[in-house]
C-alpha cells in the first residue's frame, strides 16, 4: 500500500503537464475515457474486495453442497446460507432449475443446519451469497443432470451423448422420455463413473436472467410462512427478558421474584447474564411479568455517555489531512447517527436444552459460530448441539449475531424446559445492535480543472465483527496479495469494501475506530452508506466549485465507460436537469462495490424542510450478470428506502448509556407516506462472460448521496449531520 502510494505521488508530481493537456480536452467535449483527468491508483477494494476474500475462504468447502433428486422428480438443495428476505432461495432455485432442466416449481431449497465442516462457507453477508454460490450450485445441478442422463442411457442401451434433457425428463432421439423421478434411484448407482460435468453455456440460459417471482410468496401472503416463533416445538414456553436501564448493565438482585411467580400464567423466573427472564404460558403474560419485575441493576459499559460525548470522541479521533491546502480546496465534515437494524421480526429463538444434547432454532447468518458458542456455554460437545437455521423476518446485518439463541439456551438449561424466547421491540432497539455513529473529514484540493487530491478520514465507533467474519479474515490474511496481513479486522473490512470510483488524483480513505463497549454491528453496506454517501455530497460541491453540472462532472471523473453507462441510464430515464418548482429539486449520485455499480436519481419535495418527501426515484443497476432481475429490483427498492429513512429522519439518540428510541413511532423508519410514488429500477443486461456481482447492499450509498444532494439543492443548505431532521419528537419509554 505504502509503495503504491509513493509511486503514485511521483506520478502526481509529473502531473502538471498532463493537467494542461486535460484542460484543453475537457473544454471541448466531455471525455469518454479517463485519460484527461488525473488518474487515481486502484484502491485495495478495486483489486480484491471482501467478497473475493470470502469466496477464497470458502473455496475448499464450496463443493460440499447437497442436491437430492427424489423419486417424485423434485430436486432439493441444502443451502448453507440464511434467507432473510433478500430473495436468495428463489435465485438459487432458479440456478438449479436452469442447470437441471427442471421446472422451478419442482425445486426445493432447504436452509442447512449449522455445518461446522463448512468452516468459512456458512456465513451470509457481504452481498456474497450469489457471488460465492453461482458456480458451486450450477456444478452440483450439472453433476446431477449428467448422472440422470447416464442412468437413462444405461436403461435404454443408448449413448449418453444422444440424449437430451427438458422439463424434468431425459429424452431419447426416438421421443421416449424418462422422468427424473423414475431415474433417481438408478442415477445414484456408484458404478456410473467417468462422467464429465459440463455447465450449460450462459447464452443458453432461459430462466436465469428473467424476472421471476419468489418461490415462497404464496406461503407469505397466506400467512403460512413460518418464522422462528411460529414453529410448533412441543412444550416450548414463551419467555421474555427484563433488561437493564443502560447498555450492558448487570443484574444485582431481584426484589419481587415471589410476586412475579404468582402472576397469572408465569412459570419461572431465571437470572441470565443479560437480564431477568420470565417464562409463562403466553408471551402476553411473560411480558406483563417482566414489566412488573423490580430489579437492582449494576452499571453498564457506557453509562453517562451521550451523543455529544461520543461525537467529541469521534472528532478527536479523526486524523489530520496529509495534504496542506496550498491550492484551492473544499473541506467538509459530516456526522452520522447510530441506526438500529430494526428488522420487523425481533430477535427470537427456540431452545430445547437437555442434559446431554441441545437443539436450537433461530434466524442465523453465522450458525457455526452460534453452535460453537452455545456448546461452550452449555458445556456440551459441539456435535451435541443441533442448530436449525430458520428463515427470518429481515436482518440488514442484525442476524450475524445470535444473542437470542444464546439466551434461550441459557434459560432452557436453567428452567429445564424448551423455551421460545422473544425480545420486545423496545429492547430490540435499545439493547439490540446498531450501525455505529461515524464522523467524516473530507478534503479535496483542485487546480486547473483537476482534482489533485481527495482525502477522507472516517472515525467510527468500533463495529463488532465477532460473529465469525473476524476469524475468516484472520485466517485468510496471509494469503492476501495486497499486504493486508498486518491490518486489524476492521481496517481489512474497510479497505476491502470502501473505494472511490473517481479519478480524483491521490485518493486516500482511512478508518479510525473509537472503541466503546456497546452493541454495534454491520448494517447493510457497512461503512459505505456513510462513507460513500458523504463523498457523493462532496462530489456535488466540487462540481459547483468547478462550475459544472453534477452529472457532467461525474461523467468526466468516473473511471470507466461501464460506470458512465449506468449513470447515463439513470440520468436519461429520470430526465436529469428538468425544471423543478421552488422547494423541489433533483439529486444524483453513483456507487460501485462488489463488482457491481449503480446510479440513483431522486426528486425531492422539500417545500417544508422539516418534512421533506422523496417523490420520485430512478435507479440504474449493473451487477454484471443478474440472476433474478425482479429480485434485484426488490433489493434496490430496499436500499432506496433505507437511504430515505436514514438520510432524512431515522436514527438513534444515545442518552446516558442507552438509546432513547424504543419503537417505530420514535425510530422513524419510512412508512408508505414517506415513500416515493414513482420509482423505476433499470436493470442493465448481462455483459458477455460477466460474473454476478454483489447486490444486497449496493442500493444504499448512492441513494444516500442522491437524497442529500437533492435536499441541499431544494433548500439551499449544506446538510452535514444525518439524519437531517433528528429532533427528539417523542416521550421516551421508561428505562
Amino acid at each position: 500500500m505504502a509503495v503504491a502510494r509513493r509511486r503514485f505521488l511521483t506520478y502526481l508530481v509529473a502531473a502538471p503537464t498532463l493537467t494542461v493537456a486535460a484542460q484543453l480536452v475537457m473544454d471541448a467535449v466531455a471525455p469518454a475515457t479517463a485519460s484527461a483527468v488525473i488518474p487515481t491508483a486502484p484502491a485495495i477494494a478495486d483489486l480484491v474486495d471482501l467478497g473475493d476474500i470470502l469466496i477464497l475462504a470458502g473455496l475448499p468447502t464450496s463443493d460440499m453442497l447437497v442436491l437430492a433428486v427424489g423419486e417424485d422428480g423434485t430436486a432439493t438443495l441444502g443451502l448453507p446460507r440464511e434467507e432473510v428476505g433478500q430473495g436468495l432461495t428463489t435465485a438459487i432455485a432458479m440456478l438449479v432449475a436452469e442447470e437441471l432442466d427442471l421446472p422451478l416449481t419442482d425445486v426445493r431449497i432447504e436452509l442447512d443446519d449449522a455445518r461446522p465442516e463448512l468452516l468459512f462457507d456458512q456465513l451470509t453477508g457481504s452481498s456474497n451469497s450469489i457471488r460465492s454460490l453461482y458456480d458451486p450450485v450450477r456444478r452440483a445441478a450439472a453433476a446431477a443432470r449428467v448422472r440422470l442422463v447416464a442412468a437413462a442411457a444405461a436403461r435404454w442401451g443408448l449413448a449418453a451423448g444422444k440424449l437430451t434433457t427438458g422439463n424434468g425428463s431425459v429424452v431419447a432421439p426416438d421421443g421416449r422420455t424418462a422422468s427424473y423421478g423414475s431415474l433417481s434411484v438408478a442415477a445414484a448407482d456408484a458404478s456410473l463413473t467417468g462422467l464429465t460435468v459440463t455447465l450449460k453455456a450462459e447464452s443458453q440460459h432461459t430462466l436465469v436472467g428473467t424476472p421471476t417471482s419468489r418461490i415462497d410468496a404464496r406461503k407469505i401472503v397466506t400467512g403460512r410462512q413460518e418464522y422462528t416463533l411460529d414453529l410448533d416445538i412441543p412444550g416450548a414456553k414463551p419467555c421474555m427478558v427484563r433488561r437493564p436501564p443502560t447498555v450492558n448493565g448487570t443484574v444485582k438482585s431481584v426484589a419481587n421474584e415471589a410476586a412475579i411467580r404468582a402472576m397469572p400464567g408465569v412459570l419461572d423466573v431465571v437470572v441470565i447474564p443479560t437480564g431477568v427472564a420470565v417464562v409463562a404460558e403466553t408471551f402476553g403474560q411473560a411480558l406483563a411479568g417482566k414489566d412488573a419485575l423490580e430489579v437492582a441493576w449494576g452499571p453498564g459499559t457506557i453509562d453517562g455517555l451521550s451523543d455529544d460525548g461520543i461525537r467529541t470522541k469521534l472528532k478527536a479521533a479523526a486524523p489530520s489531512f496529509s495534504f496542506l491546502a496550498l491550492t484551492k480546496h473544499i473541506d467538509a465534515e459530516f456526522d452520522f447517527a447510530f441506526v438500529s437494524h430494526a428488522p420487523l421480526e425481533t430477535n427470537s429463538a427456540v431452545a430445547d436444552v437437555r442434559s446431554d444434547h441441545a437443539t436450537i432454532w433461530s434466524g442465523l447468518k453465522s450458525p457455526i459460530v452460534a453452535q460453537q458458542t452455545i456448546a461452550a456455554e452449555l458445556g456440551l460437545p459441539e456435535d451435541k448441539v443441533t442448530v436449525h437455521v430458520v428463515q427470518a423476518g429481515g436482518s440488514f446485518g442484525r442476524r450475524l449475531f445470535f444473542d437470542a439463541a444464546l439466551e434461550a439456551a441459557q434459560v432452557s438449561k436453567a428452567s429445564g424446559r424448551p423455551i421460545r424466547l422473544m425480545w420486545s421491540r423496545i429492547d430490540d432497539m435499545r439493547h439490540g445492535r446498531m450501525r455505529p455513529a461515524t464522523h467524516h473529514k473530507l478534503r479535496a484540493t483542485y487546480a486547473l480543472g483537476q482534482v489533485l487530491t481527495f482525502e477522507h478520514r472516517v472515525a467510527a465507533v468500533e463495529t463488532d465483527f465477532r460473529h465469525g467474519l473476524g476469524e475468516i479474515l484472520t485466517a485468510m490474511a496471509a494469503k492476501l496479495p495486497t499486504g493486508l496481513g498486518n491490518e486489524t479486522i476492521a481496517q481489512t473490512l474497510f479497505l476491502t469494501t470502501v473505494k472511490s470510483p473517481y479519478n480524483f488524483g491521490v485518493t486516500t480513505q482511512t478508518l479510525t475506530e473509537v472503541p466503546l463497549t456497546m452493541h454495534t454491528g454491520s448494517w447493510r453496506s457497512v461503512y459505505s452508506a456513510n462513507a460513500r454517501g458523504a463523498e457523493e455530497i462532496l462530489v456535488d460541491e466540487l462540481a459547483t466549485a468547478f462550475g459544472k453540472d453534477p452529472l457532467s462532472f461525474r461523467r468526466t471523473f468516473l473511471k470507466s465507460d461501464a460506470q458512465r453507462a449506468v449513470l447515463d441510464k439513470a440520468a436519461a430515464a429520470g430526465n436529469w436537469g428538468r425544471t423543478m418548482p421552488p422547494g423541489h429539486a433533483q439529486g444524483i449520485a453513483f456507487h460501485e462495490e462488489y463488482k457491481s455499480r449503480t446510479a440513483c436519481l431522486v426528486e425531492i419535495d422539500a417545500t417544508d424542510p422539516k418534512a421533506p418527501r422523496v417523490t420520485k426515484a430512478v435507479v440504474a443497476v449493473d451487477v454484471g450478470r443478474p440472476i433474478n432481475p425482479r429480485g434485484l429490483e426488490a433489493q434496490m427498492l430496499g436500499g432506496l428506502t433505507d437511504a430515505i429513512s436514514t438520510t432524512l429522519r431515522a436514527g438513534l439518540h444515545i442518552d446516558k448509556g442507552l438509546p432513547l428510541e424504543g419503537s417505530y413511532s420514535q425510530f422513524h423508519y419510512a412508512r408508505q407516506k414517506n415513500s416515493p410514488t414513482d420509482v423505476q429500477v433499470i436493470v442493465l443486461p448481462p455483459a458477455a462472460d460477466a460474473e454476478p456481482g454483489g447486490a444486497g447492499e449496493l442500493g444504499v450509498p448512492a441513494a444516500v448521496g442522491a437524497i442529500a444532494n437533492a435536499y441541499a439543492r431544494a433548500t439551499g443548505t449544506h446538510p452535514r449531520t444525518f439524519p437531517i431532521n433528528f429532533d427528539v419528537d417523542f416521550t421516551p419509554f421508561p428505562r
Binding site: 397466506t222 400467512g223 408471551f283 429481515g394 422473544m422 420486545s424 421491540r425 415513500s675
Partner: protein
C-alpha cells in the same frame, strides 16, 4: 379464569384467559394461529393487523374480552379455501414480499381499505401506517391499485 367465546376465521372458539390479555397472544399462543405477527405490541408497527367484523384492528392492543361475540379474521382466513382474495392475488402478481414478516398485516390493512374505499387515492394508501422494514412500499402501492381494479 374468565371464558371468552368468539369466532376466528369462521369457526367458533372459546378460550379461558385473563380478560385483559391481548388478543394477539390468545390467537398465537392459545389457539396456534400464527399469521398475525408481533412487531411492537403497542399498535405502532401494525404487523398483527387483522379484522374484527371486517374492519382493521391491531390485536396486540385489543383485550380478548373485546373480541367476545365478534368475528375475527386473520390472514389465514382471508382466502376462500384455495381461492385467494384479490389482494393476495395482486400481492403475488406484483411479487411484493421480501422477508414477508409484515405482509400478513399489510395485506389485511389493504383488504380493509378496499372494503370501504373501492378506488383508493395515493393519499388513502399513504394513510396505511404499517411498517415494512424491507421497504416494499412501492410494490404495496402498485398491488393495492391492481387489486382495486380487479375488484371493481
Amino acid at each position: 379464569m374468565p371464558s371468552h367465546t368468539f369466532s376466528v376465521n369462521g369457526k367458533s372458539v372459546t378460550v379461558d384467559a385473563p380478560s385483559d390479555l391481548p388478543l394477539l397472544w390468545v390467537l398465537r399462543d392459545l389457539l396456534g394461529i400464527r399469521g398475525p405477527k408481533y412487531g411492537c405490541g403497542i399498535d405502532v408497527c401494525k404487523a398483527c393487523t387483522s379484522h374484527l367484523d371486517g374492519a382493521a384492528i391491531n390485536p396486540c392492543v385489543v383485550p380478548v374480552s373485546e373480541a367476545a361475540g365478534h368475528e375475527i379474521t386473520t390472514i389465514e382466513g382471508l382466502a376462500n379455501g384455495d381461492t385467494l382474495h384479490p389482494v393476495q392475488e395482486a400481492w403475488l402478481d406484483v411479487d411484493v414480499p421480501q422477508c414477508g414478516y409484515c405482509q400478513p398485516g399489510q395485506i389485511m390493512a389493504a383488504a380493509a381499505l378496499l372494503k370501504t374505499t373501492s378506488t383508493p387515492t395515493d393519499a388513502d394508501i399513504d394513510a396505511i401506517a404499517n411498517v415494512c422494514r424491507c421497504g416494499t412500499y412501492v410494490r404495496i402501492r402498485e398491488a393495492i391499485k391492481a387489486a382495486a381494479e380487479k375488484m371493481a
